[in-house]
Amino acid sequence: MAQAIDTTYENAVARRRNLRKLWLAFLLFPAMAILLTFVFLPMASAVWYSVYDWDGLVRGEFVGLANFQEVLFDARNNKFLINAFFNNVKVFIALMIVQNGLALTLALLLAREPKGYRFYQIAFFLPVILSTVIIGFQWKLFLNPIFGLVNTLLRNVGLGDWAMPWLGLPETALGSMILVNAWHWVGFPTLVFLAAIHRIPKDLIEAARLDGASEWMIARDIIWPLMAPAVTIIVVLTFIGSFNWFEIPYIMGGLEGAPAYSTDMLGLLFYRTAFGSVSAGNSDFGTGSALAVLIFIFIFTFSTIATRYLTSREVELS
C-alpha cells in the first residue's frame, strides 16, 4: 500500500512538470515560429544568396565573392554606389542638424509647459502619424513649379525671384526632400526629448535655479547631460532611418533619383539592382543580395559603435 502511494506521488509531480513545459511551449512557439520563418530565415538567406549567380528567380552556381566585387568595384555600379552613399551621408547630417536640432529646441521650450502646451504637442506630432506617401505627394503638389503653393506664396509676398522648380533642380531637390522629411518627423524626436526632460526630477532644476543658474546654463549643464539616453536613441534611429531612406525620394524623385541622380539613395539603388530598372538593367538577385548584405553590415557596425560611444557618456538617474 505504501508503495502504491509513492508511485502516485512521483507520477503526479512528473505530470505537473510536463504540463508546465507544455504550457510554456504553447506560449512561446507561435511567436518564435513566425519570427524564425519571416525574419531570421530571410535574413540568413540574404547572405546565402549573395554568393550565388542568379537568373531571375532561379539560383545558378556558386560564385564566391564575385557579386560583392561587382557591387563595389565594377566601374558602372561603383559610380552609383558612391553617389548614393554620399547622398545618404548628406541626409543623415542634415537631419541631425535641422530635424533633431529643431526638435531639441522645441522640447526645451515645451518642457516649461507654456500656455497651449497640449495643443503644441498635438500640432507637432500630427504629421508623424501620417503615411509618408501622403506627405510625399502632398509636398510634391505644394512644390510644383507653376501652380504649387510654395511658389505661389513666394510670388505673392514679392519674392518671385525665389520661386523655382524645387524638385527639378539638382541643387535644390535633395534639400527640399530633407526639409519635407524634417517636417514629417520632427514631432517624434521632440516628444521623445520632452519625455526625457520630464523624467529629470524637478528638484534638480529648482536647485540649479536657486544656485543662480540662467535658463541657458540649466539647459546646458543639467538637462542636456541627463537626457543623454534619449539623445542616444534618437541619434541611432536617425542614422538607421537615413541609411534606409526610401519612401520620400521614391515618391518625390522617382526610382532613378531624379534629377540627375541627385536624390539617389542606397535604398533606391538596392531596389533597382534587385528588381531591375532602366539604369541597372535586368533584375539581379545576386548583386542585389550582396548590396543588401553590405548595407546591413555598414548600418549594424556603425549603429553599434555609436550606441557604445553614446551610452558611455550617459549618466544614470538614480
Partner: protein, 279 residues
C-alpha cells in the same frame, strides 16, 4: 536659445510663444491647405489657391468613391492592419507572458532571440522574403503582408509587453493559484485584464506604421484589388495626375481616419508611438 533666458522676462516669453506658434502654423497649415483644396475645382486651385473654397462641394470625393479603387484600398488596409495587430497582440503577449512570468531554463536565450530581432532590418532581406513568399503562394496576397508585418513587429511587441507584464506583482498570480485557477485562467482572467492599457499602447505602436507602410505592398502586391491604401495612392496619382482637386481629396481621405483617432486619443497615440524609444 536666448528665448530660454528667464531674465529677459516678458520679452523671452513672447519670443517663445512666437517661435512655438510659427512652428505650429508650419506644421498645421499644409494639412489644412490639403483639406481645403480637396473641396476646390481645378480652376479654383489655380486662381485662388489660398482662399477658402467657394463651396464645400463633395464632387471630388464623389469621383473617388465612384471612379477609383480607393475605397477598396481602404478596406484592404483595414484588413491587413487589423489582423496583423490582432495576431501580434495575441502571439506577442503570449510570448512576453512566458518570458516575464516564469523562470525556466532558456529564458534568457529566448529573450535574446527576440531582442536580436529588433536589430534586423527586414527590408534588406526583401529578395529571399520574396522568393519564400512566392513558394508559399503568398505573393499578391494580403495574408503575405500580414505575415511580414506580424513577424517584423513581434520583437518590439514582445519587448514592450514584457516590460509591462514584469511590473505586475507576483502575489496576484500566487493568489489566483491558491484560488485554484489554472495557469491559462490566471493569464486570461487575472493578468491580461490588468495590462489592457499597455496593449492599447503596443497596438497603436504597431498599427500606425503598418497602416502607413507602402514599401512591402510595393514589392508583394501587384493586382489592383489587393493594393493597400498607401500603395494604392501611388497608382491613383498616376491616373489623376492633372485633376488636383481629386488628388487633394484622395490625400485628405487617406489621412482623415488616422487623424481623427489621433485627435481624440492623442495622449495614447503619443505614448504608443514613442513607446519603443522611451525606456
Amino acid at each position: 536659445m536666448s528665448t530660454m533666458n528667464k531674465k529677459s522676462g516678458d520679452l523671452g516669453t513672447w519670443l517663445m510663444h512666437i517661435f512655438l506658434g510659427v512652428n505650429a502654423v508650419i506644421m498645421l497649415y499644409p494639412i489644412i491647405m490639403m483639406a481645403l483644396s480637396s473641396f476646390k475645382t481645378n480652376k479654383e486651385i489655380f486662381s485662388s489657391p489660398f482662399s477658402l473654397p467657394q463651396s464645400f462641394s463633395l464632387d471630388n470625393f464623389a469621383v473617388i468613391w465612384n471612379e477609383t479603387n480607393v475605397p477598396r484600398y481602404f478596406i484592404n488596409s483595414t484588413i491587413v492592419t487589423g489582423l496583423s495587430v490582432l495576431v501580434l497582440l495575441v502571439v506577442g503577449t503570449m510570448a512576453a507572458y512566458a518570458l516575464s512570468r516564469y523562470k525556466f531554463k532558456g529564458n534568457i536565450m529566448i529573450s535574446l532571440f527576440f531582442l536580436s530581432g529588433l536589430m534586423l532590418p527586414l527590408r534588406l532581406a526583401i529578395i529571399p522574403l520574396f522568393i519564400q513568399l512566392k513558394t508559399l503562394g503568398l505573393v499578391d496576397n494580403l495574408l503575405g503582408l500580414i505575415c511580414i508585418y506580424t513577424a517584423m513587429s513581434l520583437p518590439a511587441t514582445v519587448f514592450i509587453m514584457t516590460g509591462f507584464l514584469r511590473s505586475l506583482p507576483s502575489e496576484l498570480e500566487d493568489s489566483a493559484r491558491m484560488d485554484g485557477a489554472s495557469e491559462f485562467r490566471i493569464m486570461v482572467e487575472i493578468m491580461v485584464p490588468l495590462i489592457t492599457p499597455a496593449m492599447v499602447i503596443a497596438g497603436i505602436y504597431n498599427a500606425v506604421p503598418i497602416w502607413n507602410d507602402f514599401f512591402f505592398p510595393l514589392i508583394f502586391i501587384q493586382s489592383p484589388e489587393w493594393k493597400t491604401l498607401a500603395q494604392g495612392l501611388t497608382a491613383f496619382f498616376g491616373e489623376y495626375s492633372i485633376n488636383y482637386g481629386v488628388l487633394y481629396a484622395g490625400l485628405t481621405l487617406a489621412a482623415l481616419p488616422i487623424m481623427l483617432v489621433f485627435i481624440v486619443q492623442s495622449r495614447r497615440f503619443i505614448a504608443g508611438m514613442t513607446a519603443g524609444a522611451i525606456k
